[in-house]
Symmetry: D2
Subunit: 398 residues, 4 copies
């Protein structure tokens, strides 16, 4: 075992860190108090800066303009990007775009890759992924109601999705629909590419989340498909392969979330420590951090974050070595383990800030409310726990 | 010991419950998605309805138009009001108005009571309470910077406050300021009544909280006093009695919060159970509530809420019997105990709702983010724990 | 609602407290380091002293030599008795004897009461209760294997039991056996009185628990019934009523445990505070209790214990008012709620004592290991949680 | 980063695992129910078997008969040894002997190494380490009272120690005593080698722990030094270097404990899973493991153990790379992090076993009560947390 990180990687991570600190953090107050809209021009500049610094698309292929980093290195980079809510977007690898790009990279036809993947990886368009349905538990593939029927040489799609992140402004939606209702359960659905300007594709409304409808990438929408027609070659991957592809997409997607959460955790811990050092609780300036109750929180958070980090990096390493399927228990474990650490760290960091922590003068209140979803999206933690236990109890994984 | 609740009280609580269910809950979707502004007219009607039904001002004196309930009975009523974010406002006993009214009732001059308290208890005006300062730990009285100097027959106030709840639209601010900087620490400050139209009293800006500036009662503001002058008889209570009065105000204030939190808890539990019963997790309709993991959450929440309820009612009873000072350890205990239960119950209720819990289609996301402050306002839980322990360890309370 | 405790009751509780402090605590070091055997004579004297002071059998009927206390008052007394591992035994109301006595009081024939109940209530004999079977989950009545067959005018019992508390030295065993295997599940078993000198009744071995076999009341045994014959009139209560009676016995049994646990909690808290006050952690004598980490533990324990206490007393009050069946959800709730508080309080008290807490020089190590069973006996906490949730989710209890 | 474990190491670990399973686990029932005394002969054979299999002294130098494993590899081996309470003893690397051997290896004179270290590493003698004093907090070096005075060419030692593990039967005690009371605080104490047959060295009594005095290695003693005289060359390392050496000894000592705890955790998890699979909770054989409450426990334990394992191995790697001093925050973190995981895993494993978990028919009750000390020995977790936080808050470690 060798936990060392080579100099080249350390230097790369440091460059990402400098980029985030210099280019993004100064925009944060506006983002927190006014949202993403006033930042459109500034963010375009930041993304241009990322390209100039050779930081664009850390895990995208070099031939598509990315840096071609392996998953472990990307994990280290992604933690740094996670320090800002805008970090991943600033280098073009935000969810759901990064997952969609990867999916098309692995399973798209040459035409699909050229038409959609390349512009996406370059940052010219945004995309969304339509899977979750309001009245159907996402955990069970038999409960999907959206249908796509092949009529002549067109797929006719009907149904609705919700929690479609970034649908507002997306140029393309990758939608999962039942194409073969009589097939075995896990073979019933397929993925289809639906350009946003297709008639019958309707972004009905944004879903207000924690008091906000949000905008663009920072919003989630309900989408309706009403006799929405796309050409027969709009299938992404094989017919009936929808669940398999979604799983293949979600596995790495989950580890990307975990890597990002580590960045949030680390930043929250640093803010907690800075506050503990600076906030005087007596007239003669005795700092909050003199309290051994606060100190015990700092120590517990630091250990939990380090444990979470190693677990995530180990999982990335296993995916690289043995593939996502071999590492699926690891991926489920980090999903619930890191989400739990994330929530606890954010809660304590906010508490250490007192009233200030409730305000939008720090990033903590944003993370606190937005990332409550971490324990829900991409499969509730409870579902992942049951999957892990089922495999362990049946002796399939050790 | 007799835990029974007499029929008359039960009937009264049922009437409050019916009022909330019939008059307020239908307004909730608008409140959650658009805020309080579009509801102004509707809320005025609801308050009129409360008066008609004989429910106005449950703990206000009968001679001021209230119901004159004792604190224990008010606790039972307040839990019911707490089921809605608008509950206490609908009968005129929302924070900070209820506390301000009580303070003037106990310590105001006849003129102050007539000019400010009566209109407040009738619901004709709103008020605010200016105590917390941004750069000074509220836990320490020596760290207050706002000053009031008696010049001729006027108090000249300078300084600033933040987290002044409901300052937007308030007709009166009760402000704490250092009037006697050379007195013993706890005798340095006094309370002053400052009408909102006084020159030099400036509501500078609302503080954005969890992504929202809010409006009116549902907002917090930074206030500046710049050579703000009020007559010498603007003192509320005795000169130098500011801390004592603030403590006297906060004690009952805290129990009012706890009573309200119980209502939030109970409602969240009921929502959790309804969701568990209705959400199918298999195509044949097996409900989420069949899972014994969800069941264990339901059972734990139910027990914790009942324990919290008894603790709060017992504290109310002690205040009635022996006074707020004798019950101050009890009050501190329920502050941190109930806040902790509140957060755990809300977290689980939200989790059981999955993605829906993150949206503004239920009240859970509102309570989750807004009531994160429960562990902070009126003294962070940690400060209360230290106070309780200090008294217990010194043998002063048992 | 009236939480007051009348003077007479307070005085009575004080007398029990004095008795425990004066008569039992001095014996504790011997008990902890050498067990109960060397204390036999001393305990007999203590029990005599209890009789003299008018403290014997607090909840036993006056006509049987007890004090006839109602369940709420007994709850207050029982907390005081729980301060010592020998407390309940010292006044004759230890488990399982108290439950057995109560069962015979309610359901025994005059002959059974005279022959067994009266000597038991007087403290002349000890008894045991044979229900749990090693290979069968106690939570499911269908899984009991011990059989009793009526042959001529005798019941012939075959099977085995384990975790039969106090079998070592007991004069009588009340055993549950399947008498009607074809009846509906909950009507299959009956209770039978088996004198310990009956042929075929064999105390096979003590079960070593946490490193100890124990002795007498402080031991648990495996019992075998091999063609063990008792007269037909040995049935306690009705044929087929075994489960109903066991439930009726366990309900109050559980609340008795909870009351006792409160005493353990309170004593552990007091020890924790004393240690915090006395243990110097710097050469100049700064005590451990100066640490606000330790203080936060003290404050949390104090609040949890008070909450648990009110929950238990409220449950006792409900049983008195409405009967055990109406209060069964309350009883299940206190079972898991108080057991949880107990474990947390003991864990912290031990930690505050450092290495000393691991030794047998304080009672904490005894309680820590012995009362780990609190979350298991009389139904594991998880089973109670599921029962509570099932009733709540089905709307049967609120 | 490379998390792979080479084939040679994997094979070695497998051989240790086979040795433990074949040689030690069969002895466990006797150990649990009768203690170590009846096993003396059997254990001597097992140790001989370890030597034959080339497993003796995994981390001892090859020239002293050990296997010379580096700390990371030893970590993997040590987890396997930790599966049995007798594991480390069976290959001669139990505490406190392993730490004492290492200390003499690094700091002993040639004579000391030959006379004491070599026999110790060979398993011919046992030793003990006298540091903790009953009335003085071990966390503070100023609070040590044992004194050693150089008179002529002899050290005269006076004082007492407690919690001296394995003093019963030890041939040598390494004792820490104040030799230079006027020196700066951390330079006051020295280590001295005291043969057990030295007049004035008195093993006064064993300290009963969790109901047991224990024997030999499985016991802790109070030791008195009454004018105990040893030659001037009995100093281990430099005069005044006692604290530095003790720290140097405790650092690796702590990681050895953590490695062992991982073995306990992993075994407890496996037992929990086996029980979940085998225990029927319905007559038709539905296993406990069908419950998703139990499953969530399994999944949480598995993730926590894996996180703890990576944290420990990473710390071992850092010690190898950068030295114990550079890794001292890591060592403190694993101390409290792994101890916490240990306690939670043991608690759940015991609970899944129900009543059986309380008995000495499985190893769980032993680990539950004995390893409660894990959060206390080698520095209470709270002390380590404060150290970590102090360094982090001062920016000395990141």
């Amino acid at each position: 075992m060798d936990f060392s990180i080579d100099d080249r990687t350390q230097e790369l991570v440091a460059r990402y860190r400098a980029f985030i600190d210099e280019s993004l953090l100064p925009l944060e107050p506006i983002f927190l108090q006014q949202g993403v809209v006033p930042l459109e021009a500034a963010l375009a500049e930041v993304r241009e800066e990322a390209r100039k610094r050779g930081l664009w698309g850390p895990n995208y292929p070099v031939e598509e303009g990315g840096q071609g980093l392996d998953l472990v290195t990307h994990g280290l980079v992604s933690e740094v990007l996670g320090r800002s809510p805008l970090g991943h977007y600033s280098v073009g690898v935000n969810a759901p775009d990064a997952g969609n790009a990867e999916l098309m990279h692995l399973h798209g036809s040459p035409k699909q890759r050229e038409e959609w993947m390349s512009p996406l990886m370059r940052g010219d368009i945004r995309t969304c992924f339509g899977m979750t349905e309001r009245d159907n538990s996402g955990a069970n593939p038999l409960m999907m109601e959206t249908r796509a029927t092949l009529e002549k040489d067109q797929w006719v799609i009907n149904g609705s999705k919700w929690f479609t992140t970034g649908a507002d402004g997306a140029a393309l939606c990758i939608v999962m629909a039942v194409t073969d209702p009589e097939a075995p359960p896990h073979k019933r659905a397929s993925l289809l590419l639906v350009p946003a300007n297709t008639p019958g594709y309707i972004v009905e409304r944004k879903t207000p989340i924690m008091g906000h409808e949000g905008h663009g990438l920072f919003s989630h929408a309900e989408i309706a498909f009403r006799d929405c027609k796309v050409p027969a070659d709009s299938l992404l991957g094989e017919r009936g392969g929808g669940f398999a592809l979604a799983q293949a997409r979600l596995g790495p997607g989950r580890i990307h979330h975990c890597m990002r959460w580590l960045g949030i955790c680390q930043r929250a811990l640093e803010m907690m420590m800075e506050r503990a050092n600076q906030r005087a609780i007596t007239p003669d300036g005795r700092p909050l951090g003199d309290s051994d109750l606060i100190r015990s929180w700092v120590a517990e958070c630091a250990a939990e974050i380090q444990a979470a980090r190693l677990l995530v990096l180990h999982t990335a390493w296993r995916i690289v070595r043995a593939g996502a399927r071999a590492a699926r228990n690891d991926v489920s474990m980090i999903k619930y383990y890191v989400a739990d650490v994330l929530q606890r760290v954010l809660d304590r960091a906010l508490q250490v800030h007192g009233g200030l922590g409730m305000t939008d003068y720090t990033v903590l209140a944003f993370y606190y409310r937005e990332e409550r979803a971490a324990r829900i999206y991409d499969g509730p933690d409870e579902v992942h726990k049951l999957s892990v236990a089922r495999r362990l109890l049946s002796g399939r994984e050790g």
